[in-house]
Symmetry: C3
Subunit: 159 residues, 3 copies
Amino acid sequence: RRGEMAKSTQLIDNEVFRAYATYAAIVLLKMMLMSLITAYFRITRKAFVNPEDTASFGKGESAKKFLRSDPDVERVRRGHLNDLENIVPFVGIGLLYALSGPELSTALLHFRIFTGARILHTFAYLIPLPQPGRGLSWAVGYSVTFSMAYKVLKTAWLL
Amino acid sequence: RRGEMAKSTQLIDNEVFRAYATYAAIVLLKMMLMSLITAYFRITRKAFVNPEDTASFGKGESAKKFLRSDPDVERVRRGHLNDLENIVPFVGIGLLYALSGPELSTALLHFRIFTGARILHTFAYLIPLPQPGRGLSWAVGYSVTFSMAYKVLKTAWLL
Amino acid sequence: RRGEMAKSTQLIDNEVFRAYATYAAIVLLKMMLMSLITAYFRITRKAFVNPEDTASFGKGESAKKFLRSDPDVERVRRGHLNDLENIVPFVGIGLLYALSGPELSTALLHFRIFTGARILHTFAYLIPLPQPGRGLSWAVGYSVTFSMAYKVLKTAWLL
């Protein structure tokens, strides 16, 4: 029992892995937040896509008019999909990177810049900020993931 | 050779990690099943999006009429995207959670509730069940992932 | 300090894990490439979705005409979403598979076939190749992930 616990906490005792766990959890929670923002806009804008979601507004034509797309809802959904496209590679490559033995300070630099860039990206998308705000924050996050992938491939390469 | 095998099976010998591996594989397979359901509806409803997919129905206008959207196909696709938005955070945060040294019984509780909720969510989406069936099953899965993220951040926190 | 580094490189010293890290990084980078291809087509086809992205083309009606959907852009986006739906399960299940103690040769076979199939799938989608080119490359990747999930569940099963 004790031995098992010790084994299971081995990775989590490693500082780079702890930093990875912290930042991966933060960006995944940030991505999950997009679901709540979508729900908020769907309800306040009364813009739904599933007929069963509008049943509480009455039957027939009176409910049907709420089956519509809304620009604010669509904007949040695009931000959510962009998160999936960028945060998923970060979480996957970041795990391998954390296991490839980087310096703690270098790893923290990667994780912090990525996380900051993705939080900025969400604000840039939802406010919205004028370009190139959103484009730059996207490119910074993308480059961090790319840099980690380079380290992973250099360390692990076995084709 | 032997030592290497032993090393590689270290994590998989841990009971919490085995439970994680089992449930993560199940929910990922469930998510993959959505691709087959989409293909089934596309073929039976004859509703495609790529011109090359309708080539077997003939050429020109006779094939073009199958390039259309179908409500059943779109419903499965929304369920699939919702899986991506919710199962991906579960798999990522769940891995970190499994490595953060939780009690086996607590971990099993989290994994079982999440998996049950997401299977219910799929049925609620595809049948479809009246609300709040789908909404509640979504919220239960969401809360489980949130609870695991809390444990991860409490254990690993290194910003 | 040394002990910590040794611990952190334990997994990455395992050959199956190194092979997994290599192929997971490659397919995630391939998926990330879809963002660049989308950006390339959006700019060359002048087809945008966010009003702030067309601001550099002028104001009012002159910029508004670039807020449109383009078949090439939509095709790349469908390929990108298909990558998310298939590469994410591979990365998740593949990690568990690599930790379940497979033979190196068997593991390499799985990783190589999946990676080859997904690269072919991208070409089949973007050129596009006539069916069943895209369908077959999709099915091959899907089957590899399924085969790895079977091994994971057989090894780890704890419900």
